[in-house]
Structures are given as C-alpha cells and as structure tokens.
Amino acid sequence: MRLDLILATLILLGESIGSSRAELRATPRFDSVESQVISRNDLLRAIVDVDPWMVRRILDVMARTEITGPPGEKSDRLEAVDFAKNPDLAGVPKNALSSQEWLELVKRAKVEKDKREQDEPHTLKRDYSGSLEILDMMKQAKDKKSDSVSK
C-alpha cells in the first residue's frame, strides 16, 4: 500500500474512533494569532463552531511546518477550495509527511462546510407534521410527569 494511502487511512481511522468521544472532549483553545487566522479564512470560520477539533488540527499542521504556495502537484485535491477567501490555506506543507495530512484535513473541512451549507429539502418548508409531533411529545411528557407525581 502506498504511504499516502496508509496515512490517509490512519487519519480517517483516528477520526472515526475519536468522533464518538468528541462530544466529551473539551473545546480546543485558540490563541489570538490563531483566532486571526481563523477569521481571515472562510473555510476555518465556517466550521470552527461545528468542528473546532478539525480546525485545531489544521492549525497544528500550520504551526509545525511552513505552508508554501501556490499548491503544488497535489493541488487537484484542493481545487474546490477558494484560495482567495482562504489565503492561509493556499499551499502545501514543505514537510512531505505533513502534506498528506494537510490535504486530507483541508479537503474534509471543505466537505464539512459544503454539507453544512447545503439546503436540505425539509429545511426549506414549514414542517407542520413535525410541529404537531413535538407538541404531542410535550403534552405526553406533561401527562407522564403528572402520573409519576400522583403515584
């Protein structure tokens, strides 16, 4: 198996193991310089609230190796990223080992951003059935509560 495939697999495997515990982990901290980086890069800004750990990992790669641009031979993997809106992501790490992780993370951040922004059919209309279900659920909860108090 090629090295880049092994690395990509390890990254994805680590993420899937970590995701089930992600909700119990503390939110990563960003210092003022990192916060500035986040604020000037559209992609990081879009996902920092929903997946701060992905942003943390991207910033960690940036911290340990210089990102040189423009993107090199692997730029096709990042072609969907608008580098005008993501100036700090426009490039690849000098360090070859970090490069694979970088490409994988930025690509996944883009996928996550697109997924979040995509309008799902049910979000476009008023779901009265859903409203009725929730109101019914609340009424049932009230009745259950009353029952348990009276017992």
Partner: protein
C-alpha cells in the same frame, strides 16, 4: 353558512396576524438591530424554534428530572418516524440524520447532566437533535447565533467543551402573547 365561512375567513386572518405579531414582537425586543440578526428572526423557522421553548414552559417541563421523560419520548418519536418510509420521503427527512438525532449512551449522560445543572439548558448538539425534524443542525446554529445576539438566549461554554444554551424567556413570551391574542380573538368570532 355564509356567516360560518366568513368566520372561518376571519380565523385565517387572525392566524396570519399572530405570525405577523410574533415577528414584530421579537424584532422589537431584539437587543441587536443588525440586519443579519433580524433576517434570522424573521424566518418562519424562528417560530418553530420558539415553539419548542414555549412548549417546554407551557407544559411545565422545566424541572431537573423532566429531561428523562423528554429524551425517552423524543427517541420513541424518531424510532416511529424511522419506520415510516413514506413519511420520511414526503417530509424530505433522511434516515441517517434521524439516527444521529436519537439519544444514545454516548449522548444521554451529557444531555441529562447539563439539564440537571440548569433545568432548560441544552447544548447546541442536543438542541439540534430535538429539532431534527424542523431544521438542519446548521439552521439551528444560525438561529441560536442570532437569538443570542438578540438577547433571547444566553450561550456559555461548559466544562465538557460544549456550548450551553439557556433561554431568557423573551421568545416564549412573544409567542405566548401572540397565541393568546389570536385565541381570544377567534373565541369571539
């Protein structure tokens, strides 16, 4: 018969008026008058969002133990919905989203702990789970952001690392007042 139809028409008008009044009330009450905030508050989804919080208060479900009942009924509701292929399709709901929204052994402890520490408090992820049939997690996040800027929600960071959301009761009152006016006016028809 004509009178009854006219009364039905008046009722329709009062229902629409209740929505208009709710929008006016929350926009006037908003601490921020920035356009991005008001844009979110004017959405129909805002009514649905307020409906959820209003229902908790209206049904007296703001006790520390009430989250147990709510979580159980929420899971029952989604489990039933997951079996209804036609319903899912007609409402544009995806199975994977509903499955993600079911409270599990991974998510229940945090849900309960946060609520028990402050009854009515939910973290962003779990609020999204309760609202899964009404809006995407992203839409819920956008509304939370606007409602926080408006002063309708207080958002803090919990030791778990989650964002904890607590209502200030402004949305609930705006919705309650609009519903009461509508109900009383319809009763007079």
């Amino acid at each position: 018969m004509a009178d009854a139809t006219e009364s039905d028409f008046s009722a329709l008008s009062l229902i629409a008026q209740a929505h208009v009044d709710f929008e006016r009330r929350i926009c006037n009450a908003s601490a921020s008058q920035e356009e991005w905030v008001l844009d979110q508050l004017r959405l129909d989804k805002m009514w649905e969002f307020a409906e959820f919080y209003f229902s908790i208060v209206a049904m007296g479900l703001d006790g520390p133990e009430d989250i147990d009942i709510l979580a159980e009924l929420h899971n029952e509701r989604l489990t039933k919905l997951l079996r209804d292929e036609k319903g899912l399709q007609s409402r544009g709901l995806r199975k994977d989203r509903l499955l993600d929204a079911i409270f599990t052994a991974d998510t229940l402890p945090r849900l309960k702990q946060i609520w028990r520490e402050q009854p009515g408090a939910l973290d962003q992820s779990n609020l999204g789970r309760f609202l899964v049939t009404q809006m995407s997690a992203e839409k819920a996040r956008q509304i939370v952001k606007a409602a926080e800027a408006a002063g309708f929600l207080i958002v803090t960071n919990h030791a778990f690392g989650a964002k904890i959301i607590v209502s200030t009761n402004v949305m609930e009152k705006a919705l309650g007042d609009s519903l009461r006016e509508m109900r009383l006016a319809i009763a007079k028809l």
